[in-house]
């Protein structure tokens, strides 16, 4: 059913911390690893060892440079996957009912046996969160690891999305963003979490936490430290200097 539920009981989603993400792509790999064997069709790679490799991924990490007008540029790693939007345009455009949003937890899924591979939902998503699988010809997208989070066959600490479980920097958080008392909601409130492209009217559930402002070292210190001076050799340079040091170390 491609009509959206009026409300969902919970709003499960991710909170992604752009301050802590180190851009290691571990979440990309763990996502692919779990989801190529989990829910639905595998995630195909084509020409994997050739000159034009391409593959289906549900989560990708971009890296952006942000250049403030008066300060040096900063680098921000930027993981992106389905944001499980409240007003998901990908769902309402689907002609077959393959795309749907669950009323119990708000997860947006594709019923792959009903998908005709028309690609319209991928056009409708402004975030590029849907990719047509080149081999199976059905639409693939983040399931929020629906086959982990409710899975009682795996240890409790593993019942979170694969990307969250894997992230070595702790940059990914999972929870009910609809519940103001949840840890993720508190984190969003505390850190000023924001929506991507709010102007598209999709009301994404996933939130992003902004990078913390860079410390201004030169403002805090009266005089800049001369780093070069710290590296000055104590004795003369050259061979004699080295000999001097070496003998010194011998005691």
């Amino acid at each position: 059913m491609t009509q959206l539920p009026e409300t969902t009981e919970r709003k499960l989603g991710l909170v992604i911390d752009l301050d802590t993400c180190v851009g290691c792509h571990a979440c990309v790999i763990s996502c692919k690893e779990w989801n190529t064997g989990g829910y639905g069709a595998p995630l195909a790679d084509t020409d994997a060892y050739g000159s034009d490799p391409s593959g289906t991924f549900l989560n990708r990490v971009h890296t952006f440079e942000v250049k403030p007008a008066d300060k040096p540029a900063m680098v921000t790693h930027f993981p992106k996957s389905c944001l499980h939007c409240e007003d998901a345009p990908c769902v309402t455009v689907c002609p077959t009912g393959a795309s749907f949003k669950r009323s119990e937890d708000g997860i947006v899924l594709v019923h792959e046996d009903h998908c005709i591979g028309c690609g319209l939902c991928a056009w409708a998503c402004p975030y590029g969160a849907r990719e047509m699988d080149a081999v199976e010809k059905v639409m693939k997208k983040c399931t929020l690891c629906v086959d982990r989070i409710y899975n009682e066959n795996i240890p409790e600490e593993d019942r979170v999305p694969s990307c969250v479980r894997t992230c070595p920097a702790g940059a990914r958080h999972f929870g009910d963003i609809g519940d103001p008392d949840s840890d993720v909601s508190k984190l969003v409130a505390e850190r000023g979490g924001f929506d991507l492209m709010p102007e598209q009217g999709t009301k994404p559930v996933n939130k992003y936490l902004p990078p913390r402002p860079k410390q201004q070292m030169s403002d805090d210190l009266d005089e800049p430290v001369n780093l070069a001076a710290l590296a000055e050799p104590t004795a003369n340079g050259g061979f004699l200097g080295w000999l001097d040091n070496a003998l010194e170390r011998l005691g």
Binding site: P89, T96, I116, C118, A122, Y127, P210
Partner: protein, 304 residues
Amino acid sequence: MHPAYSVIFFTVSSGAGLGLLAFMGLGPFTFGGETSDMIWAAFILGFAMAVGGLISSTFHLGHPERAWRAMTQWRSSWLSREGVIAVAALIVAAIFAALWLLLDLSSALLGIVTTILAMLTVWATGMIYAQIKAVDLWHRWLTPVCYLLFSLAGGITLFIFIHAVFTGKAGYELSSMAMVMLLVAWAVKMFWWMGADRAPTSTPESATGLGHLGKVRLLEKPHTGSNYLQREMGFQIARKHARKLRLIALVLGAVAPILLILLAIPAPLDVLWLGLAVISHLAGMLVERWLFFAEARHAVMNYY
């Protein structure tokens, strides 16, 4: 956006075919409902182009064998609505044509319903694109209006050609109608093109939410190879090439057909001129439709 040839062919062919069927729906009023070879030919061409286009549109599906499922979600999806209305239009048109051609019964009611359903189908096609908010160029009310006007203009141009083939003359009134429709359709399209230079709704700054910190640019792509998103949404033609192609579309689609129709009114060679007018118009439409995709920029490109 990537211009898929099956979709370009589909919208041009079905558009003109449905336009012709819509025009035939008015037959009981315009030419009194007599049966003739001309009426047969018009219906056959109309159905062939409409159905041929619809079949070609299934070629770009990953799973055409499940295409029937696309009829189910008409409450929310314009693609589904298009499918449902297209089937309804073709069924009503078939009954209308069969009664007229085989039993000499031209029902005004069935005719009107055929016209309305054929036009609604084309409107729904336009809405499939207009509903996509992530593509600024398409997300406008003028988009389905253009589709509708092109369909009508194509339908009438096809009909005056058939009329000339069977009666030996273009017909002054029909020809004037065709020229007016061509003019109106392309005038609206030029207006649509004028809106193509609006500032984008979303930018790399809003896409990353980092705009408050400064200017955002991509430093590293998420992968070294290409991906589906880039192939599907990443295609965009350079602006100066687009300008030239717009001109080509305009000349082929509007200027040439109108001159050829003008030539055909007094001339004895009207079948030839009108045949060329049809071919030129359809060629112009193919260029216009190709540009419709090639000029469109998708919001996801803010991440690339």
